[in-house]
């Protein structure tokens, strides 16, 4: 028994952290955050060259054939650094193609997605909380018509993997006819969103892999968001502790004040145990299939709720500066808002986990 990361997984995290530290240090992150477009293709391409765009993809197409846990530990690191990169949706889109695409489709798209030459995203949500496969109403066919909401990096993607009625997927290329992309203002400016309208847009259906594909894409998404949330919340605790060790009030560093110490301890107690929860949820997707669906729902709802609370607490712990645009905590605060909603709010997954329970 070894419920712990491998040396390779740790190295992967360190490599990613090092790369972001070099290529997207705080000043650059701030620049992208304040930027109108907010997407840096060079940064993403650099990450792809480290292998991050194809961790989970077959080796023959340039992927690393690793597990969901490997995908997730990278998501933790990116979340911790608030990296403004399209890792989440690109991973889910390429996952869908690798699971549901035929050999021709895989051969056509996966090499570019694994190398980072092409960027893909998923277009899932429809109006009124329609994140889940069973809620997708957009009809499959040779063309599609309708609107997808909250498409991550929708303005920048070359390829849309679109969720369709019956829990199926199809692929639309960006330059296809009838695609209209509308920038949407989200709180989290490290992960830009768009509304994508399709009007008689040609689509190529992904027909392999059976009914399980959409469920797996959903569950992997939930786990990656959980990992991002754990990473971000942990970072906020660290930042708050650092601030408390340095900021002086009344002649001492504020870390001397027991009330604040206990607030910081409470924040740590809320988030630190969720490391093992997201690990387990990720591990279960490859090794404990009978539990994986439900534990992914629990992890996503639990950890993003904790992230939300920790983000509020960290803001208060930083006093006035936490409440400014110039302060750094707000970047993670808004990532917490994204993680909480994307692919379904905690409430949605609590309801699901209750339905899936053996009560």
């Amino acid at each position: 028994m070894d419920f712990d990361l491998s040396d390779e997984q740790r190295l992967l995290q360190e490599t990613v952290a090092q790369f972001i530290d070099n290529e997207c240090p705080p000043a650059r992150l701030r620049e992208l955050f304040d930027d109108e477009v907010g997407y840096d293709p060079v940064l993403w391409k650099g990450l792809a060259e480290l292998g991050l765009a194809g961790i989970h993809l077959p080796g023959e197409y340039g992927g690393s054939e690793l597990e969901i846990l490997d995908l997730a530990v990278v998501a933790e690191t990116l979340g911790s650094l608030a990296a403004p990169v399209p890792y989440l949706s690109h991973s889910l889109a390429s996952l869908a193609i690798s699971l549901a695409g035929n050999a021709d489709q895989q051969g056509r798209w996966l090499p570019g997605l694994a190398s980072g030459d092409a960027l893909a995203t998923v277009a899932l949500a429809e109006e009124d909380a329609g994140w889940l496969p069973e809620a997708w109403k957009m009809a499959a066919g040779e063309t599609i018509t309708g609107t997808k909401e909250i498409v991550e990096f929708g303005e920048h993607a070359d390829l849309f993997v679109v969720g369709l009625a019956g829990g199926r997927f199809g692929v639309v290329e960006r330059n296809a006819s009838g695609v209209e992309i509308q920038r949407v203002e989200g709180a989290d400016r490290t992960r830009r969103i768009a509304r994508v309208n399709f009007e008689n847009t040609p689509i190529e259906m992904l027909n392999e892999g059976g009914d399980e594909v959409a469920a797996r894409v959903r569950d992997v998404g939930l786990v990656l968001i959980s990992a991002d949330a754990f990473g971000g919340a942990t970072k906020l605790v660290e930042m708050s502790v650092e601030y408390a060790k340095n900021r002086e009030q009344f002649g001492v560093t504020i870390g001397h004040f027991q009330a604040l110490k206990h607030q910081l301890a409470n924040m740590a107690v809320e988030i630190e145990p969720t490391r093992a929860l997201y690990w387990y949820a990720a591990h279960a997707l490859d090794h404990v299939p009978e539990e994986s669906e439900r534990v992914a729902a629990i992890a996503k709802s639990h950890i993003t709720e904790r992230y939300q609370q920790v983000a509020r607490d960290a803001t208060e712990a930083h006093g006035g500066i936490g409440f400014t645009w110039e302060g750094d905590t707000q970047i993670w605060f808004k990532r917490a808002m994204f993680d909480r909603v994307f692919m379904g709010t905690p409430r949605v997954h609590q309801n699901r986990a209750a339905e899936l329970a053996d009560w």
Binding site: E36, A187, T315, E316
Partner: protein, 403 residues
Amino acid sequence: MDLSYGQETEDYRKEVKTFLTANWPLAGDEAKMPREDGARLFRERAISEGYLCRNIPKQYGGSEQSADALRGQVIREEFGKARAPMEPRGIGTMMLVPTLLDRGEEWQKEKFVGPTIRGEINWCQGYSEPGSGSDLASLMTKGELDGDDWVINGQKIWTSGAQRADYMFCLVRTEPDEKKHAGISYLLIDMKTKGIDVRPLRQMTGSSEFNEVFLNDVRTPKDWIVGKRGEGWLVSRTTLKHERNSIGNAAQSLGLLSGLVSLAKSRKIDGQPAIEDPGVRRELVRIEGYIRAHQYSGFLQTSKGLKDENAGIIAMMNKLNSTNIGHKVAHLAMEILGDDGLGAPLAAGLGTGTAGSSTANWLSQYMGSLGIAIAGGTANVQRNVIAERGLGLPRDMAANRSK
């Protein structure tokens, strides 16, 4: 127990109504005046009738009425219903004027009080500094006498309205040899003076209500000091109390509640109108419980004030109550907002906001509820005050060490 205002006050209400019927809105040619000018004209008349600036002596432009909290309340109610202008809002009227009346030199009152209460000049407040939030004793901005002027160097932060302000009242360390509070003076500065640099401080919501103010060899006359040298901390204390009371008002919380009900009516949750969700309904009632307790505690404090009695520990809780209520409201609002919970709070640079304005407002509230916990003394400082002054627990050891 009597919640009525009494016959005398109700008679007074009739007078107020009669005045308002005759004077607001302005009629005839006066109705065509620019908005600000019209308001000024109306205020002059209301002052001369004793309805506005009641606690300010006539010689400084007020109506010098004897204190009567119920009459004040009636005026607020009736002017509110008529949407008639009251005293100009702002930190000048609320904080500087009472301080000047209490501690200012005669010439200071004459020069500043009238124009401030008529809305002719605007003020900003220079208390907080980057290195001192709740701890005013650690202020670093320095003032040195050079001939007939104070020369001021330093930085202020969280200064709201600094760009629009004509003057600033601020706390400056003028006695470097004195320790802590004892070395601080309360100075007035003309904001047009050379060496003042105002930079907006953007909030996490994207809006800029606050500023940083950099002071670089800023000169202000020697006698633009309120109170004596080194007394600035004491002089400022009346004002801070004012600020806390105003934030502690339940009106804001009541407004939040009715907004939350509207939100719940307009949104769906789990496929049905949020207002029909039993959990949402109970949480609304739970929040209302806090708000009503807060509101009626305000009645109690007003009544104690009318009798010149001390309201006790409840008076120290207004701010924290508002903060706690704001958190609960924010939490429920996010639950109801559902997928819109990742939207941008305000148009923060991107052109194509899709969230309706109500959504954006709620997202701002979600963040703003943190701001209110931070502004005017953090929640932890409030808890210290309640524990020490209210419950009589020992003073804080960490804070004590520096005393």
